[in-house]
Amino acid sequence: MIYVTINGQEIQTEADRTILQVAREHGIHIPTLCYHEAMEPFAACRLCVVEVEAGRGRRLVASCAYPCTDGLVVYTDSDTVLQSRRIAVELLMASAGHIPIIRQLADELGVDEPRFTMEKNDCILCGLCVRACQEIVGVSAISVINRGIEKMVSPPFHIASNTCIGCGTCILVCPTGAITLADINGDAWAAHSWGSEFEAVDCRIRDHHHLAPQFADATALLTGEAVG
C-alpha cells in the first residue's frame, strides 16, 4: 500500500496504478481522449495532463501513463493544468472543431474558437483503432503511417488489408466517428474506409451494426440467442 496526495486529498492505493486510475476511483474528473481502460496507455492527446511535484518543482505528466509512487503529490486542476488542456483542445479544434466530442470538451474547458485552423479531418489520431486492432483483436490490420502533420491511420501501403477480419472493433472504439462501415458491396461489407471486405451478418447487440460470420457465435452467446 502506498499513499498519494491528489489536490490535497490523501489517498491510499496500490503501487503501480496510474494517476488516472486512482483519480477516477475517487471521483476526481480528468478528461481523456486517447485513453481506453482495455488498452495500454498511449499518452498522445495530452488532455489528461496533471502536475506532479518533482525534484525541481512541478511538471506536467500524462496521468494515463504515470505510475503512482509512495508520497506522490498530484494536482489535477491547477491553472497550469487547465491552461495546458485548453491549448490541447484548441489545437485539436484546428482540424476537428466540427466533431461533437471535441466541441463538448471545448465547452467544458471554456475554449471558444481556435486561433489556428487546418483542413477538416474527422480523425484526431488518438490511436484507439490501431491499438484495439493490435492489442485486443490481435491482427494489426491498420497502423499509423507517415510523420507529423502527414500522419494518418491506414492499412499497409493504402491497400485493403487481408488480415482485417471485419470485427468492427475499430469502429466501436473510434471517439469521433471517423471510421464507418463503408458500404454494401453485393453480400459483402467493406469494413471501413480502407475497404477491407467481409461477408456480413446482422449483429444482435447493436442496430445498424454488422459482423463478419466468425463473430456470429460470440454475439449469440452474449445475447443468449441461438445462432440463426
Binding site: 495530452r46 506536467l60 499509423v144 500522419k151
Partner: protein, 617 residues
Amino acid sequence: MIELCDPQALVDYRQRIRAATNPQQRRIRVCDGTGCRALGSRRVLARLQETLREAGLADEVEVIPTGCPGFCELGPLITVDPEQIAYNRVGADDVPAIVARTIAQGEIIDGLLFVDPVTGQTIVHDNDLPFYTRQMRRVLELNGQIDPTSIEDYIAHGGYAALSKALYKMTPEQVIEEVKQSGLRGRGGAGFPTGTKWRLCRQSPGEVKYVVCNADEGDPGAFMDRSILEGNPHSVVEGMIIGAYAMGATQGYVYIRNEYPLAVQNLKIGLQQACEHGLLGENILGSGFDFDIEIRVGSGAFVCGEETALMASIEGKIGEPRPRPPYPAQNGLWGKPTNINNVKTWSNVPLVLRNGSDWFASVGTEESKGTMIFSLVGKIRNTGLVEVPMGISLRELIYEVGGGIPGGKAFKAAQIGGPSGGCIPKEHLDVPVDYESLTALGAIMGSGGLVVTDEDTCMVDLARYFLKFTQEESCGKCVPCRIGTRAMLETLERICAGQGRQGDIEYLIEIGQEVKRSSLCGLGQTAPNPVLTTIRYFRDEYEAHIYAHKCPAQVCKGLITYEIVAELCTGCTVCARNCPADAITGAKNQPHTIDPEMCTRCGVCQLLCNFDAITVH
C-alpha cells in the same frame, strides 16, 4: 590474425606493433572523412598512390587514409610525416609537385600551407595551426592520426588498454564508480550523469540487459558523431564493451543513420576486427565476459534520436516515443533494462578508465567536466570539428578556435544545441559553455551543433528554418507537438511573408511554452526553443517584420525589393540574361530596371552584378 586471450597478450601485441613502426617513416596522411571526400580527397588519394608508384616510391612512402582531423574549411587536408607538414586545399593536380618536391627532396611547398589571416604568417606544422592549438583534443586526438580501418593503429596508440584494465583490475561496481567520479555527463544533449545512469541499469533486476549507442545524429549542420565513428570507431566499441561489463549487459546495438555510409562501413570493419582479435564476442580477452554488438541502421527519422523512439525502431516498430517512466534502465529494449548513451559519451569512457577520473575531471567546470565536441558551421571562418574544454567562453570558441566571422561582418548570435537549442546573442558571448549556463540562457548544450549567424542573418527566418525542420520531423503522435509546431510554423511563415499581425508574438510565446511543457518527448519539449530564444533576444526584429513590414537583415523575400541604381548600371546585360524570372529589362549600355511584380527575390542579379548597381530595400 591474432586472438588476444589475456591482458599480457594485448600488451605484447601492442609492443610488437610499436616495434615494427618506424617513427621516421615517410608517411602521407590524407583525410578520408566525408567532408574532405566531398571536396575531392579520394581523387587526391588515388593520384598520390599512382604518382608514388610511377616514381618508384610506393614501397618507401606509406599513404594512410585517416578520419576527419576537423579543419573541414580547408579540405582536402593532407599531412606529410615525419615532419608533419600540413597541406590544405590540396587538389589532385597538386600531387605531382608534392611527390617531386616534398617527398623526393624534402622541400616545403609554400602555396599549400596555411596562412594565418590575422598575422599573415605561413604555418608549416599542423600542431602549430591556431585552429588546433586553442583546442583540447582528447576524444578527437587520434582522428586524423590513425587509419580508422586498422585495429593495429588503435591498439598501438593505447587502444583497448582501458578495457583490459576494467576486465582484470576492476569490479563492475568500481568501473561505475570511476565513471561517476569523473563527472562525465551524457553528451547527447540532456547531460544526465553517466555513472548514475549506469548504476540504475546495473541495479535493475534481470538476467538480460542491453547497451545501446545512439548514433542517430540528425541536427542540421552537426557531424560530431559521424566524424568519430568514421575516424576512430574502436573508441566507441571499447567504450561500449566497458559499459556492458559494468552494467552486466550481453548484447549491444549501435543505432546509426543510413545517411552515414562511411561511418557504418568503418564501424562494421571495427566490429569485425574486434571479434577477430578476441576483444568482442565470447570470452573477451580471456576474461570469461561475453558481449556482442550489432549495427541497426535507421532510416533518417530525427525522432529516432529520442531514446524510447530509438528503442521502438530497433525492435522493428514504428519510431514513436512512449511515455517515461518507465525509463529504459528499468524497461528498455524488449522490456529489458537498457542503457543508451551517445557516441561521444561512449568514446569518452576508455579515456576515463585509462587515465583515471581525476585526469578527466581536471578540465571543465564544477558541474560540467571534460571536453565537448562541437561542429562549427554557419557564418564562421573555420568551419569544422573542434574539441574544447567545458567552460570555455563562447567568445573564445567562436573567435579564437573558430577564427571569427568572415568578410568583416558582425557577429549576431550563435544557435547552440541544434533545432532543440536556442540562440545566444552577442551580449552573452562571454557565457561559459557548460550545461547549466547554456540552459539558463534558454539554449541547451545539446549534442554539439553550433551554428553561427552574422548581421546578414534574419533571426525570424532562422527560427522559421529550425521550426520547419522539427515540425517536419515531429512523429505526430502527441497533439502539442504535431499541431502546435504546425500552428507556430504557420505564424512564422506569415510573419516572414510580411503578413504578421498584432498578437502573433504573444501567440508564439503562449503556444511555444505549452508545446514545451506538455509534449510527450524531448523533440516537442525543445522544438520551440529557437523561436522562444529569438523572441527573447531579438524581439525588435519580429516587431520590425510585423509592424514596420521590414526585414532588418533583408532576408525575408516578402519584405524586400530589388532595385537597380541607374547611375551605377552600365547596361552590361549580365543581370537580365541571368534572371530566371525574366524580370529585368533594358537596352544594352543603358540602365536596366527590375519589374517588382515578376521578381522572385532570388538575388541572382545582385550576386552577378560587377558594378554593385543592385540594392535591396
